[in-house]
Amino acid sequence: MAEHHTASDCKHKTSSNAGGSVSGNGRPNSPAGCGGSGGLSGGLTQPAGWQSLLSFTILFLAWLAGFSSRLFAVIRFESIIHEFDPWFNYRSTHHLTTNGFYEFLNWFDERAWYPLGRIVGGTVYPGLMVTAGLIHYILNLLHVTVHIRDVCVFLAPVFSGLTAISTFLLTRELWNQGAGLLAACFIAIVPGYISRSVAGSFDNEGIAIFALQFTYYLWVKSVKTGSVFWAIGCCLSYFYMVSAWGGYVFIINLIPLHVFALLLMQRFSRRLYIAYSTFYIVGLVLSMQIPFVGFQPIRTSEHMAAAGVFALLQAYAFLQYLKDRLTRQEFQTLFFLGVSLAAGVVFLTVIYLTYTGESHLPVMLRYAKIHIPIIASVSEHQPTTWVSFFFDLHILVCTFPAGLWFCIKNINDERVFVALYAISAVYFAGVMVRLMLTLTPVVCMLSAIAFSSVFEHYLGDDMKRENPPAEDSKQDRPEEGLGPNIKSIVTMLMLMLLMMFAVHCTWVTSNAYSSPSVVLASYNHDGSRNILDDFREAYYWLRQNTDEHARVMSWWDYGYQIAGMANRTTLVDNNTWNNSHIALVGKAMSSNESAAYEIMKSLDVDYVLIIFGGVIGYSGDDINKFLWMVRIAEGEHPKDIRESDYFTPQGEFRVDKAGSPTLLNCLMYKMSYYRFGPYTRLDFRTPPGFDRTRNAEIGNKDIRLKHLEEAFTSEHWLVRIYRVKKQENRQALDHKLRNIAAKQKYTSKKVLPSLFH
């Protein structure tokens, strides 16, 4: 179905282009072929009406195509929240809708990061939850009884339509309407954006790209008009962006960069001054209203560029003003004075910041150093490969430099902006796979410009030439035949490219980005499908059959899912804010059972959950992630855990008999392979205890657990849950609230200070 849509979409792209070229020539195309047919309907004689109808239709179809091509997962599986982070977002949205907005802002989640808890209200970007909650609220107000889950699932596809429209608006400002429509069609189906906005992927990026594009549109508009109205609109949009995604930093650096570049290019104007001053002041105040952002915009280094450019712009405007009032000589002295004064101020500030340690750059570096194993362990933080550029953008990645060139060739204020946008986004996308997302919109816009100009040239001229031959006698035709042929060939080639692009987008979306990853599917030889629903099986077991306050230890990847689906307390989760806590869990997983038991006892762990793919050959399981656990644990506990212990003397990581004894006896290994030794699949080619993920017969088949017992294992062994036994020979104590005698309290107060003095 979606394929059909994209195909039709492609057709519309070409027709949109015809419309665009017509508008470019400012001439109706009616005289071309249809000769003197005088009785045309009123609509045809009004090109403006046609144009807006066409634009509306194309944008609507782009929205529809974008929406429907994001529904693969819903059609194949169900309306379900995907992956990991979306589960947290869903859980907090659910909290928001059930408990109200203020309760959400003040939410202290005691179910995460046991025993620390997490102040959720102050550590999230609430834009996504508030958007979904608001939609849900309005719908319910109108008695449209939609479950909040469905609102969350379909939010990103709906917003992709809004993204298409804002991309259209932005491209129209940069180039023309035809390019805008092309860009809207591109962004609607481009995989680089779909990867983050399929139905069910309820994540910040889904709405943030819309906010990003819309902010940029309003910014370009306000630079063009110099009106405070548009600048304020830009600020509001920026505020929405800040509330939605940490990527707002990209905006607050790109816009100052644009202003700075314009200043360097001698393109200062009052419009720019009004736009930027308004944007900076109002945007700054608004962005500080988000609790999670707070005072960062005036404190941290990544916001300093904006402040610096603001100051520079004021100074520049002031100098311009003085220039009109003073003589040349006076002005020069003043200029030098001003420059040296400014240099001095900057110098002193730097000295001050370094001295007081207020500069956050070293802090950030230190932070990153500690966190490097964690940051590096996330696959989306890896550098982008060339393949993924092509995979996510297909033909657009080849054509967008052409668009950039067109823009630079006919430069003006807003095209400077898009050039800077393109260059910076390319850089960021090269650093991290994840930031491909910010590159995608600009690539769509520039490619649309490239395609649009080509079509304008080849399709538009075609008509012009066709006009005279129609009036001419037949003799002239053979001479001019070559021109139209080349043009039609070029046009056909371009259309072929677009068609292949649409096919590629659909294919990538369907195959790469439409798996909920909570539900797995396998296909039999006859094409029938098996659904492996082990994750939900185990999570639901936890939800139903464990104590409501049970604490579940697992690797941090599964924290959000456990909280969302199992509704149980977790020790660590995907909000990896506390490295030492994660390291402790990593240490427990990589120690031997009795050492791990001590850690688990100290953390009040009731259940341990692990993912084991050995039975069905699922490669993303905990044994494959195990080295990261070891590394992170080693970072905090270098004395107890050493990565080298887990390798064979040859430096290999093996789970079979040749594996290192430390590995073969650590808790993770034991839990993964407990009772797996005698396990055989029905085929007798493999020995018992054959791990299908790592293609090895496990080395330690006789695993006995002393402090743990198997509590649950899902049908395909994908999720295994162990119960931590209570200590023997003692009566199990209920976890009652501690009662500390009042007396003790007073004495401790007196004693403590003396200890320190």
């Binding site: 005289p31 090109p47 939900r536 099986e537 017992e709 509590a711």
Partner: protein, 598 residues
């Protein structure tokens, strides 16, 4: 402790009701069957009653032991007719002074004359009377349960002779009471016959045996039935399910469960729910989404759903799910004018031998239903009615809420709801949608047509006016160019047909149309001038060029005439035609350029 005694009832003809037990009824012969093969205790007693008194007897009393009475889920009595037709008796709870237990009074269809006999069948179902013992077992162990009851029929009347037969779930019996030296065969135990048992006798019966049938209990179910007069009835059941057998002790090993067939024998892997035959769009889900482990089978007279919980249910484990489906309303909704009657099952089949601890039924009637009256098959407690709002509702749909505890399969019966509904109200929702769209479009029209800007921009207005005029000019000029092309065709045709009349008439129409068009353009030109636009000059230029063009057309026309008349040679004509068309080409392109400039 209770002194035992299995379930039971007695019939007594009771002229003065209550405690008058000496009214002469006697249980001549009693056959009791205790069916303990599932997790329910189903006790049936077939009683041969005789009236040994002097007066006619109109009603009889059934009694239940105080120990079993709280677990009673269902009681029903019927009279065995001569023609093998059973006639159900209506039961009413009463009390007997000085006796413990629960008592029901049944009115006989016809009074029993002295000395007459009557066969009565009493059926009772008790839930949660089979207690797992030991209460915690490991995965490999079998589930053993204990049943405690009464050897005798608990009855307010004396019994002459009775036998008791106990059906068990398996051959394995740990122990059983041996009153009267019972005989035990494969899966049953026979007690009796006991002779001349006095009224209200109890003797403790205790059977400890293996029972691996699924001890599934629905701890609560909410059944929502939403009636739409557009042809659909949506049913949704939210179910809390629990395994109430022996608790699982120690670990659950998936390996054993998969490899050994007798591992976890008392656990529940799946069960079948039978839905009505017309059920459509069945869904089976829970809070975290669709439960993918289910199968649907559409049979002729029903739809069978094989419900497999996400995980096997062991003792003490619970789960929660939602099952829902749609039914066509014509099968369940009847109407006569404005009067409607809905006849639906109050509770439906979920699994065989089901036990429902708590049932809540919510019946959502269409918005505007009035005079609601409910006929229930058995007493059920009604709560306060609620209002429910869903798509396009304005004042809410009435919701009937009813609750009942402890239900079994015998409670699957129809409830009838009568109400009045004005059919005009059906139009309310479509009209609402139409109205909403009307308002939307109207607002857009208003917004587009009116100017809401707070500042006036005269320049922009002029620009817009000029743009519209130029647009008109463009179309007119193009039309005019079209005329020339048309004229060319006429000339060409003339060259072949040599029909001067056609040529002349063509020329005339050209002249006429050309004049009107030119006049129109001139009028527009003056308007442009009035707006102070410099485009007027360009239009003037176009006009000038056009007049030249027209001359050329006329000339080519004349040339053609001359050619046809033989005044010029063909070569000369071609020559001149070429020059003419060259000139025209030039003029047209110049006009085109001007148009582009516009």
């Amino acid at each position: 402790m209770w002194s035992g005694g299995a379930a039971i009832f007695v019939l007594v003809s009771c002229v003065f009701c209550a405690s008058a037990l000496a009214d002469g009824l006697v249980n001549e012969d009693v056959k009791r069957t205790l069916d303990l093969s599932s997790h329910l205790a189903k006790i049936t007693a077939e009683i041969q009653l005789a009236n040994h008194g002097a007066a006619r007897v109109n009603s009889l009393t059934l009694a239940l032991e105080a120990e079993l009475a709280p677990h009673l889920a269902f009681i029903g009595a019927s009279v065995k007719g001569e023609e093998e037709e059973d006639e159900g008796l209506e039961l009413k709870e009463t009390t007997l002074h000085g006796q413990s237990g629960k008592f029901f009074e049944a009115q006989l269809p016809s009074s029993l004359a002295p000395g007459a006999k009557l066969r009565v069948k009493v059926e009772t179902v008790f839930s949660h009377v089979l207690k797992p013992f030991p209460s915690h077992i490991t995965q490999a162990e079998q589930q053993l349960v204990v049943f405690q009851g009464n050897h005798y029929l608990y009855s307010p009347y004396p019994t002459r002779s009775q036998t008791t037969r106990v059906r068990l779930a398996s051959k394995t019996v740990e122990s059983y009471t041996k009153l009267g030296n019972p005989t035990k065969s494969e899966e049953s135990i026979e007690y009796g016959p006991f002779k001349d048992v006095p009224p209200f006798s109890q003797d403790d019966m205790k059977i400890h045996y293996e029972n691996n049938t699924p001890f599934l209990t629905i701890s609560s179910i909410t059944r929502t039935i939403e009636v739409s007069h557009w042809g659909n009835i949506a049913v949704e059941e939210t179910i809390d399910l629990r395994h109430t057998g022996a608790y699982l002790k120690g670990p659950f090993s998936r390996y054993d469960y998969q490899r050994q067939s007798d591992s976890g024998i008392s656990s529940v892997k799946s069960f079948k729910t039978i839905l009505p035959a017309s059920a459509q769009d069945v869904y089976y889900r829970d809070e975290i989404g669709n439960i993918s482990t289910s199968h649907l089978q559409v049979l002729d007279d029903s739809v069978e759903v094989e419900i497999r919980p996400r995980f096997p249910l062991f003792g003490g484990w619970k789960t929660h799910y939602i099952i829902g489906y749609n039914l066509p309303s014509y099968e369940y909704l009847y109407n006569l004018g404005d009067q409607y009657a809905l006849k639906m099952r109050l509770v439906d089949h979920i699994y065989d031998d089901q036990v429902i601890d708590q049932l809540t039924v919510k019946l959502i009637l269409p918005e505007g239903a009035r005079n609601i009256h409910v006929d229930t098959p058995y007493p059920i407690s009604r709560s306060q009615d609620e209002l429910h709002y869903t798509y396009l509702d304005t004042f809410g749909r009435p919701v009937l809420v009813a609750t009942k505890n402890n239900l079994v399969e015998q409670h699957i019966q129809d409830v009838v709801v009568h109400y009045n509904f004005n059919k005009i109200l059906m139009l309310q929702e479509p009209l609402l949608v139409v109205g909403a769209f009307y308002i939307l479009f109207f607002t857009v029209i208003i917004y587009v047509r009116l100017d809401f800007s707070i500042t006036k921009d005269p320049a922009a207005e002029v620009r817009m006016k000029v743009a519209s005029i130029t647009e008109q000019v463009l179309t007119l000029v193009n039309k005019r160019l079209g005329l020339y092309r048309h004229m060319d065709e006429v000339v060409n045709r003339y060259k072949q047909s040599r029909d001067t009349g056609a040529l002349n008439s063509g020329r005339k129409t050209l002249e006429a149309e050309h004049r009107t068009l030119t006049n129109d353009i001139t009028a527009l030109q003056t308007r442009l001038k009035a707006e102070g636009s410099d485009l007027a000059e360009k239009v003037g230029e176009i006009q000038k060029l056009d007049s030249q063009l027209k001359d050329l057309v006329c000339r080519s026309c004349q040339e053609a005439e001359r050619l046809v008349a033989g005044k010029v040679k063909k070569d000369a004509y071609i020559e001149s035609d070429k020059t003419l068309s060259g000139k025209r080409q030039e003029l047209v392109s110049r006009i085109d350029n001007l148009l582009d400039a516009l």
